[in-house]
Amino acid sequence: MEEQSHESKATKNEMAHIETIIGRILQIGVIVAAIVMLFGLILLLINGGNGGYPTGHQPTTISGIIAGTVALKPYAVMMVGMFCLIMTPVLRVVVSIYAFYKEHDILYVWITTIVLIILCISFVVGHTV
């Protein structure tokens, strides 16, 4: 019984540590996404609502978004910000693998890796269906 409670205490400490690492990285990701989105929004306001593209259009290819961002087109910058936001949950999964590995929790390294693999498959499936 005592051994069990000792083990669960170790598990709790480990979790707290892992959660701190992931939380910190997630926070950075969210702040970066928010700053880029806000910057794009301010550009849009300065341009008087003109996104830099014909009405109802925005860049949807990676090259188009990069080109637009270099030219500081508001919609392109906003798309970059949203892309950063979309990537934050993926980033969280990747960091989790590392965090579990650092805490020698091999079972959860596997579980989290499986999640990442399925996630990658779903990216591919989503773009072909």
């Binding site: 997630l26 936001l85 999964v93």
Partner: protein
């Protein structure tokens, strides 16, 4: 234009607070506002809601991780189910009649609402007499969190892991095919089936729904369904709202959260049943 931007931010703020507290994606608030009130095409409304789900998830998760409210292992383990379900949903679109999914999952949510109401009347938030579940122990799923409304550490055990896994598989399938209910099913699986307390259920749901949404979000992102002038102010409002909501939730008594939650999932459930009956 500034006016519509401010409206989007205000809607986002509200949706973010509500979503973070309840563990729901906020689509239930955002989609009607965008389509009915602002006359936006449903295609763009769905694109905006998927961004909303991710913003709610990432915004709320920062606090839930730091304050140790959510259960990371439960989230990781169940994400296997939701992501597999999500892929299956995408592949089965056009093969499986969504009518039956609406009926089945609508009924499930109504059942869950009824079950939650019973839990509320019983007035007991944590099942202390739950036998240690073998699978839960093996997967180290049992958890603990500090309840800021009761000012005490709450240890809880997780049970019925296979059932919870199965519901999550369905949750991924449903949100992949129907585009709704991303959070409602997750809270249901953890609270109703796995007997987790409501607060960690909601916080864990918040964490998970971002991952589920990220896969479909890239599709919408590259096919032009996500309008930056709508989604960006909305997302910024939500991020702020979710940060506030994730703090409010921790000090709210679980009973109050449950009282808000029950009518919401009953509403979503009945709406799905209705769609199933009239044929999607």
């Amino acid at each position: 234009m500034i006016q519509s931007m401010l409206i989007m931010m205000a809607v986002g703020l509200f949706a973010g607070i509500a979503g973070a507290i309840l563990g729901l994606g906020g689509g239930i608030i955002i989609t009607p506002v965008l389509t009915l009130m602002m006359g936006l095409d449903i295609k763009y409304a769905i694109g905006a809601s998927i961004i909303a789900v991710i913003a709610t998830s990432s915004g709320a998760t920062i606090a839930y991780l730091r304050d140790d409210v959510l259960n990371l292992r439960v989230a990781m383990f169940l994400e296997i189910a939701t992501t597999i379900g999500g892929i299956s949903g995408a592949l089965l679109t056009g093969i499986l009649d969504p009518k039956y999914l609406y009926l089945f999952f609508g009924a499930l949510l109504v059942f869950s609402g009824w079950n939650m109401w019973r839990k509320l009347r019983r007035g007991q938030e944590v099942m202390t007499n739950v036998q240690a579940d073998r699978i839960a122990t093996k997967l180290k799923l049992n958890g603990t969190y500090f309840d800021k409304s009761e000012m005490k550490q709450v240890d809880y055990q997780v049970e019925a892991v296979p059932q919870g896994f199965l519901v999550m598989l369905g949750a991924g399938l449903a949100s992949g095919m129907l585009g709704i209910g991303s959070g409602a099913f997750k809270v249901t699986a953890m609270d109703t089936f796995m007997k987790m307390p409501l607060k960690p259920s909601s916080a864990t749901s918040n964490l998970m729904m971002g991952v589920t949404a990220a896969a479909s979000a890239t599709v919408y992102f590259f096919n032009g369904s996500i309008l930056p002038n709508i989604a960006v102010p909305l997302a910024l409002g939500i991020l702020v709202g979710a940060v506030i909501g994730s703090r409010v939730m921790q000090v709210l008594p679980a009973r109050i959260i449950r009282m808000i939650f029950i009518p919401v999932i009953l509403f979503i459930g009945l709406q799905m049943l209705y769609k199933g009956i009239i044929g999607g």
